[in-house]
C-alpha cells in the first residue's frame, strides 16, 4: 500500500515539477509585454499586448489588411511595409515577395509576430475597410454544391464597394471549429444595393467556413464581415470585354454585369460560364434578365462533362476551348477571369497567346 502511494507521489511530483518548469519558461519566453505600434508615421498609434501575429493584432484594432486565406500564409495578400521591429524575413514569406518588395521592407503580416515596438506603413485606403454586422436574410441552394447567402446590413448601414471586390466573412466558433476564422468571398450583388450583399459559397468537404455556411447558418442569424477588398473590378474603357467564370467564380462577374446594366454601359461583352454538368450551372434566369437590359451582352455556357440525361445542346468542353474558338485576335479586348487557379492560369496563357496584353487581363483566383 505504501509503495503505491510512494509511486503516485513520485510521479505526480515529477509531472508537477516539469509543468512548473514549462510554466515558468512560458511566462518568460512567451511574454512580450506591451508593444507600441505606429502606423503611417503617427496617423494611428496604439499600444497592445505583444505575442500575436501582426495581421490579427491590427484586425483587433479595427484595421483590416486584405487576406484571402485567413492568416495561414497561403495567399500572400496581407502585405504591409515594416520599417522597424519586424525581425528577420521568414522562409514562409519569401515565396510571396519579389526582390523589390524585400528591398522595400514589405512583409507578410500574418507571418510576422508582434515581438516589440513596430513602425509600419499601409496603404491609406485600408483605413476605409471596416467591419460590418449583418443578418442572414436568405439562404438558397443554387446547385447541389453551391449556396447563395444574402446578408442584410444591420441598422440601415451601407457598404460602398466596387463590383468585383470581396469581403472577409467571419466564421464564429462552432462545434468543429475551435476558433473564429475569416474567409474571403466575392460580392455577387450589385453595388447600388448598398444595404445588403450576396455571397456565393461552394461547399468544400471539411472546410471550416463552407461547412458553417452550408450546415449551421440559418436565416435570421447574425454574422460579421469586413471589406471591401481587392483590385478585381471593371476598368473604364471602350474595349470589348470577356468575362470568364467557373463555379462560384461567377459571383464577382455577376456584380460587374449588374453594374454595367445599371450604368447602361453598352460595350460589347461576352460572358463564358463553365461547369461540369447541367446541374452545376446557376443564375441562368438572372443572366437572361441581364441580357434583356444589355443589348451588347452575349452569354455562352459550356459543360466539360455533360451527362446523357442533361440533353445538353450548348457548348461542350472547357472555358479555354470556347475562348480558343471565339477570340480570333486580341486587339482592343480585355478580360476578367474568376475561378479556380488552374482555370485562371490556363486562360491567362491562352489569352496572352491570342495577343491580349497581360495588363488587360484581370483575375481573381479562388485558392
Amino acid at each position: 500500500m505504501g509503495h503505491l502511494f510512494l509511486s503516485l507521489i513520485a510521479l505526480s511530483c515529477l509531472g508537477a515539477g516539469l509543468a512548473l518548469l514549462l510554466e515558468v519558461a512560458d511566462s518568460y519566453l512567451g511574454f512580450y509585454g506591451q508593444c507600441h505600434i505606429d502606423i503611417n508615421s503617427g496617423e494611428k498609434e496604439f499600444t497592445i499586448q505583444g505575442g500575436g501575429s501582426l495581421l490579427s493584432t491590427l484586425m483587433e484594432q479595427g484595421i483590416f489588411i486584405p487576406s484571402a486565406c485567413g492568416g495561414r500564409g497561403s495567399c500572400g495578400y496581407c502585405k504591409v511595409r515594416i520599417h522597424g521591429g519586424g525581425g528577420p524575413l521568414l522562409p514562409t514569406e519569401t515565396p510571396w515577395l519579389g526582390p523589390e518588395e524585400i528591398e522595400a521592407q514589405v512583409r507578410i503580416s500574418c507571418q510576422v509576430k508582434v515581438r516589440g515596438d513596430m513602425i509600419i506603413e499601409i496603404p491609406p485606403e485600408l483605413f476605409l475597410i471596416r467591419e460590418f454586422r449583418s443578418r442572414v436574410e436568405g439562404l438558397r441552394n443554387l446547385t447541389h454544391e453551391i449556396k447563395e447567402l444574402r446578408l442584410r446590413l444591420i441598422e440601415s448601414d451601407a457598404i460602398s464597394f466596387k463590383p468585383g471586390q470581396y469581403v472577409q466573412f467571419q466564421v464564429p466558433e462552432y462545434e468543429g471549429c475551435p476558433e473564429s476564422v475569416y474567409r474571403a468571398y466575392s460580392i455577387a450583388s450589385a453595388a447600388h444595393e448598398s444595404g445588403s450583399i450576396t455571397l456565393i459559397v461552394t461547399r468544400v468537404p471539411g472546410g471550416l467556413a463552407t461547412t458553417y455556411i452550408h450546415e449551421v447558418l440559418k436565416a435570421g442569424d447574425e454574422v460579421a464581415f469586413s471589406g471591401p477588398y481587392g483590385d478585381f473590378y471593371l476598368r473604364d474603357s471602350d474595349r470589348e470585354i470577356f468575362l470568364v467564370a467557373t463555379g462560384s467564380g461567377l459571383a464577382p462577374i455577376m456584380s460587374i454585369l449588374c453594374q454595367m446594366a445599371e450604368e447602361r454601359i453598352s460595350r460589347k461583352t461576352t460572358l463564358v460560364f463553365g461547369a461540369r454538368h447541367r446541374t452545376d450551372l446557376f443564375y441562368l434566369d438572372e443572366i437572361e434578365a441581364l441580357k434583356g437590359k444589355m443589348p451588347g451582352l452575349e452569354a455562352i455556357f459550356t459543360l466539360s462533362r455533360p451527362e446523357e440525361e442533361d440533353q445538353w445542346e450548348g457548348e461542350r468542353g472547357r472555358v479555354t476551348d470556347v475562348l480558343e474558338r471565339i477570340i480570333k485576335e486580341g486587339a482592343n479586348k480585355e478580360a476578367y477571369l474568376c475561378g479556380n487557379p488552374a482555370m485562371v492560369e490556363s486562360c491567362v496563357e491562352l489569352l496572352t497567346k491570342k495577343g491580349i496584353p497581360e495588363e488587360l487581363i484581370f483575375y481573381d483566383k479562388f485558392a
Binding site: S7, A10, L14, L18, L21, L22, G87, L90, T92
Partner: protein, 197 residues
C-alpha cells in the same frame, strides 16, 4: 582514465558501428519524411543531436537518482517520455523566441522530435547496457550525430536522384527504403572496427 576512454569509444561507436538509425532502425518516420533535401535534414538533425544529448543526461539523472532509489524502475517508459516531451517543449519555446527563422524551417518536425523513437531508444539502451553518466551522455551525443549523418546522407542522395528515372512502382517511399537498406549494408562495413554492447 579507462572510463573516459570508453565513453569516447561509445561516442564513435554510436556514430558509425552502432548507428541508431541504420543498425537499430529507430527514428525512421522523420528519416523518411524530412530527408527530401540536405538543408531541412540538417536542421532537424541538429535539433535531434541537441535533444538526444540533453535528454540522455536528464533521463540518466531521473532514473538513477529518483526511480532507482524509490524502487520505481518499472515506470521508466512513462517517465522518459514525459521528460523528453517537456524538454522538446522547452526547446521549442527557446527556438521560437530566439530564432523565428529556424522555428519556421523546422515547423511541425520540431514537436515531432518528441515521438522520435530513436530518442527513447537511446534512453532505454543506456539503462539496459548499464552505462555511467559520462558514457550515457557520450552515447546520446554520438547517437544524435549518427542519426544526423544518416539523414543528411539520405537527403543528399534524394536530392541527387530528383531527375533520375525511378521505376514508377518504386517512386517515393519505395526507393527511399531501398536506399536506406543499402546505406545500412554500407554501415555494416564499419562493424569490424569497434563493438559496443
Amino acid at each position: 582514465m579507462e572510463l573516459g576512454l570508453s565513453a569516447f569509444v561509445i561516442f564513435f561507436a554510436a556514430i558509425f558501428t552502432n548507428n541508431i538509425l541504420l543498425t537499430n532502425f529507430l527514428g525512421m518516420c522523420s528519416f523518411l519524411a524530412v530527408s527530401r533535401e540536405v538543408k531541412s535534414s540538417l536542421g532537424l538533425g541538429f535539433a535531434v543531436i541537441f535533444v538526444m544529448t540533453c535528454t540522455s543526461a536528464l533521463n540518466y539523472l531521473v532514473y538513477y537518482h529518483l526511480l532507482v532509489p524509490l524502487g520505481l524502475e518499472h515506470f521508466r517508459f512513462i517517465v522518459f517520455i514525459i521528460v523528453i516531451a517537456a524538454f522538446v517543449q522547452l526547446v521549442e519555446m527557446v527556438i521560437e523566441r530566439s530564432s523565428p527563422v529556424l522555428y519556421v524551417i523546422l515547423g511541425i518536425f520540431l514537436p515531432l522530435i518528441t515521438v522520435n523513437c530513436a530518442i527513447l531508444g537511446v534512453a532505454l539502451f543506456m539503462i539496459i547496457r548499464n552505462y555511467t553518466f559520462l558514457q550515457s551522455v557520450a552515447y546520446g551525443a554520438g547517437g544524435g550525430i549518427g542519426w544526423t549523418l544518416a539523414i543528411v546522407a539520405m537527403g543528399g542522395i534524394r536530392q541527387k536522384m530528383r531527375g533520375a528515372p525511378v521505376p514508377k512502382s518504386l517512386e517515393g517511399p519505395g526507393i527511399t527504403l531501398i536506399i536506406a537498406g543499402l546505406m545500412a549494408l554500407a554501415f555494416i562495413g564499419f562493424t569490424g572496427m569497434i563493438q559496443i554492447q
